[in-house]
Symmetry: C2
Subunit: 189 residues, 2 copies
């Protein structure tokens, strides 16, 4: 039985959503896996927007329960951190001790992205903690996002692959995703 | 046995982290619960930053496994969406079908915050989907964040409480948190 992999990520929001979802699914199949993609584009319309949204949530969770593994696209999304839906899904799969891999297409680390957010106006406090001008502490673990994300995947034997896509291909470059597929093929629990 | 509640949120990053964590824990105890707070401030230093970060990840996950419930502070964090670590933790607890409540201290909905991010320069495409000038689709489900977050909590009988804190008390106001405690006291699975 081929491993079933849930392909989490913000692809559903792209102008070429269908094309990107199909491309990633085809790559997963070519690597010998059964892909499961977020159901946003398949869920029938619903009289209430909330009901529609919750139907998508239910479909996605059901697919995750069925999947053996997740590959989460954690590329920063409209700001510093990964898409919140994808992060929820990574936590969901880690709690179930499924095989968890992830990638980002932006090589710059979390700390540097937060420093950019503050336009470099951060400073170190008396205890040695870097803080923004708003007083909020800046984690500096040399990681790609909040520590719970790589911690959850990598402590379970998975990996967060750090890609470095061209600025105009941040959401379409598939090199880091391909590397996740390659690593899962060799994954030993 | 009092219900054990994991108090997820970005409080660990506040200038008054210890004070806020203690205040929320005291409120939870006063409401008859046993609070479990993220372990970031308790984990001993480690020779490598990565090792230290992953030790925090492990401690937090162990506390979640022990907890019966989560109250996640999903107040937007350095941008549009909730703190990524907290979102991971909400997904983690929902996967385990624990009792899941959450709150935000910012009443403005996700769609409006995304519109602010684009400085109002969004437009509706030929299919009726609102998109930013970057072409990325804007979800409009009248929800407080990505649909997976309220979907996960509320489809399990929990609730996302929408607070409306003063601008200078967005990370310290406890009214919405108190309402979560009140609701959990009456929670029936």
């Amino acid at each position: 039985m081929p491993l079933k992999i849930y392909l989490a990520g913000p692809e559903v929001f792209l102008p070429n959503a269908r094309e990107m979802l199909d491309l990633k699914a085809a790559m997963a199949r070519a690597a010998g896996f059964t892909p499961l993609s977020p159901g946003d584009l398949h869920v029938p319309r619903h009289p209430s927007m909330r009901g529609y949204a919750f139907a998508i949530s239910e479909v996605n969770e059901r697919m995750m329960l069925e999947a053996d593994a997740i590959i989460a696209n954690l590329t920063p999304w409209r700001g510093i951190s990964a898409d919140a839906g994808t992060v929820y899904e990574l936590g969901f799969m880690c709690a179930l001790d499924k095989i968890a891999y992830a990638y980002t297409n932006i090589a710059k680390r979390h700390f540097e992205r937060v420093a950019d957010y503050y336009h470099g106006r951060h400073a170190t406090d008396a205890e040695g903690t870097p803080r923004g001008p708003d007083g909020l502490a800046m984690e500096d673990y040399e990681l790609m996002d909040n520590l719970m994300l790589p911690g959850g995947a990598e402590r379970r034997g998975g990996k967060v692959v750090i890609g470095n896509a061209a600025p105009d291909a941040v959401y379409t470059d598939t090199a880091a995703f391909a590397e996740c597929l390659r690593l899962i093929a060799g994954h030993r629990p």
